[in-house]
Symmetry: C2
Subunit: 441 residues, 2 copies
Amino acid sequence: MNRDEALSPLFTDLYELTMMFAYRENHLAAKATFSLFIRGSEGLNRGFLVAAGLEDALSGLENMRFSQTDMDYLRSLNLFPEDFIRSLSGFRFTGDVWAMPEGTICFADEPLMEVTAPIAESQIVETFLINTLGFQTNIATKALRCMHAAKGRPIVDFSFRRTQGLDAGMQVARNAYISGFNGTSNVLAGKKYGIPVSGTMAHSFVLAVGSNVEAFRAYARSFPDNCIFLIDTHDVIEGAHSAVEVALAMAKEGHLLKGVRIDSGEMVETSKAVRRILNDAGLDRVQIIATSGFDEFEIEKALSGGAAIDAFGVGTKLGVSADAPYLDMVYKLARYDDRDVRKTSPGKITLAGEKQVFRIMDRTGKYASDTLGTRSEMIDGTEPLLIKVMENGRRILTSPTLQEIRKKIQDGFSNLDGGYKSLDHPDKYPIRLSPRLSEIQ
Amino acid sequence: MNRDEALSPLFTDLYELTMMFAYRENHLAAKATFSLFIRGSEGLNRGFLVAAGLEDALSGLENMRFSQTDMDYLRSLNLFPEDFIRSLSGFRFTGDVWAMPEGTICFADEPLMEVTAPIAESQIVETFLINTLGFQTNIATKALRCMHAAKGRPIVDFSFRRTQGLDAGMQVARNAYISGFNGTSNVLAGKKYGIPVSGTMAHSFVLAVGSNVEAFRAYARSFPDNCIFLIDTHDVIEGAHSAVEVALAMAKEGHLLKGVRIDSGEMVETSKAVRRILNDAGLDRVQIIATSGFDEFEIEKALSGGAAIDAFGVGTKLGVSADAPYLDMVYKLARYDDRDVRKTSPGKITLAGEKQVFRIMDRTGKYASDTLGTRSEMIDGTEPLLIKVMENGRRILTSPTLQEIRKKIQDGFSNLDGGYKSLDHPDKYPIRLSPRLSEIQ
């Protein structure tokens, strides 16, 4: 979403609009604070989270406008009286927003954002905010887990064809990049975000040209200094020998083959065999890129098996966050008209009041624990994670660049102990309630 | 996507563009046919699929154009020479497309689409086509499984807040609707597609107003003939009694409460208890709507446990297809320059040649088996499922309405035996290769 592009408030569920109308009819117009967080649960296999999506969220809040066709559509539903529909033409989001900056390492059950505005306004943005922050936080988190598993090896996002729509593809490329990916195959994301793009050849190229050797030669003629050969269209060992043949010819003309790509089959023994073939031909500098079905679990498995892989392409399983395709992100009323409130449905209890997250570091700067407190309290020697980012509907901070967010994630992650980073059964990071917050529950 | 909106061909992976350039440099310009299908695998827990997404796919193919900013961006990569970039300004998709009409009940390993065009054109659309058809087919399929589990009870799509982006939310609402859902909470999808929208109130409404009874009264004042009360903000049994109190008052003024909604906790005993409370008060016509964590598996579980649920709201798990967040949809070269080709990578073997899917019915019209054959053959007494839908880059058929697609799905599904509809371990629908197709493999 571009910063100056209007966002339709119909990016919502109908009940937000029926409630908006009922609030108005019943003269409920006071300020309400909603708290947005990810519910922790037994099944949530995530030792940490990476807050993401704030840029799009704030841009959307600033640019929410009902268009004429939006109002015409609502009129056609015969659900709302004309004066209510007319009142929407002047709708603006005029609230205040506190949020964790993008790239903050955080945890389940911590508020990532709190929104305070007249209740009609803070209510109607719920669907948009959860949609925008939930998926991006999920992808940034999954991507950082992949980086962790790859132990310094570069990864490129190859997910675009299997993301759940165009919008998802763009968000995946962006959030994988802030979490440390080297780039993406997604050209539209490259254009929009300035993310490095990369790509080589598909099996269809080899099939169309007719043989491995001919295909590699043809490709090398077009991109002599930027070649990665796909070697598994047929037998991968034969493919590796073909790659060697063409690479040696390229070397005579002063061109270095960058790498070979393996996109199918068992990876550990295959990559080792390919490495030996390359090394035996003196092609030690040619990299092996592996790209079939990887995510953090498969990367860890391949590397712990001793696979000779120099770089990964990660696609589908990152693009849809296959092992956790959604996070249980919710947006709950915490305060209305100066009254702290919470719901008590079984298994879905929420915390009342306006909150702050206080991070406690140990003497070396490592994250030791977080305390959830009330927004007005101060806890000595801690860092408050929620920052006021919007006032009266306008952003009050400059947006960070992707590079700055990337750096923030890298720094934060280095302050997190290894136990919280485990891909399975991570340690549970300690989160406490301050005495003051406990009192109002 | 609107039919007349230009689609950027940068909705692609970079390797499609590098291959396009390499094809050009190496004078490979012949026609290529790609076959798009979903790979069957052990793990694919789907006895049937619903082909969906064709409307968006064809609209995109018709409207693919490189904009000036697209070309400027490609220029900035310093990867392609200027004459190649200039040649893109005239790019159009000029190919032919055969496809299963939207709503066709189909199966893994069957081609859903075949695209024939000069290889540069048929190559570059790969990412866009898989993205567009894969997710929509996945959602239409999952939604039909939900309808099957609900045994005639209405279902509404409540997924918008947890879909993977805006685009996904729109596609979910649309494809759930064609598979038989009653409507959606997604207002933007209601506006775009004319799908019925529905919605009631959230927990925040009850909390803001202050008590169940006050909240229900306030809501009934605003929507006297269109009320569903959310009864589980606090204890659900107390909530049910509050709903009865307000419903009886409404009845005195001639208004009927439509329903009560339960959004948390155990559903079987809770719904039965709520039913008794309503019936004891003579409110037999008030419906119970359940909306917490449902998908086809949870619906089946609740109903087989005897839950007193009249209608379902299905959200997150449909919206991301939680048990199968992606389908292994691929787009493989099957023919180039009048030569049938296929790849033979282990576990990823594809079928050569231009194909047709022939459906064989039994005497009662039930689907008996499918035969994959070559496109040019005729098999007596069968129905060919792939239709020519685009010629020289232009659609040659009128787009069906959502109602027509909905009807097609309903009819097709009634012709499918129960064993293929099982939610778990479905029977495997018989698919054979014709002798002629076998010959060219």
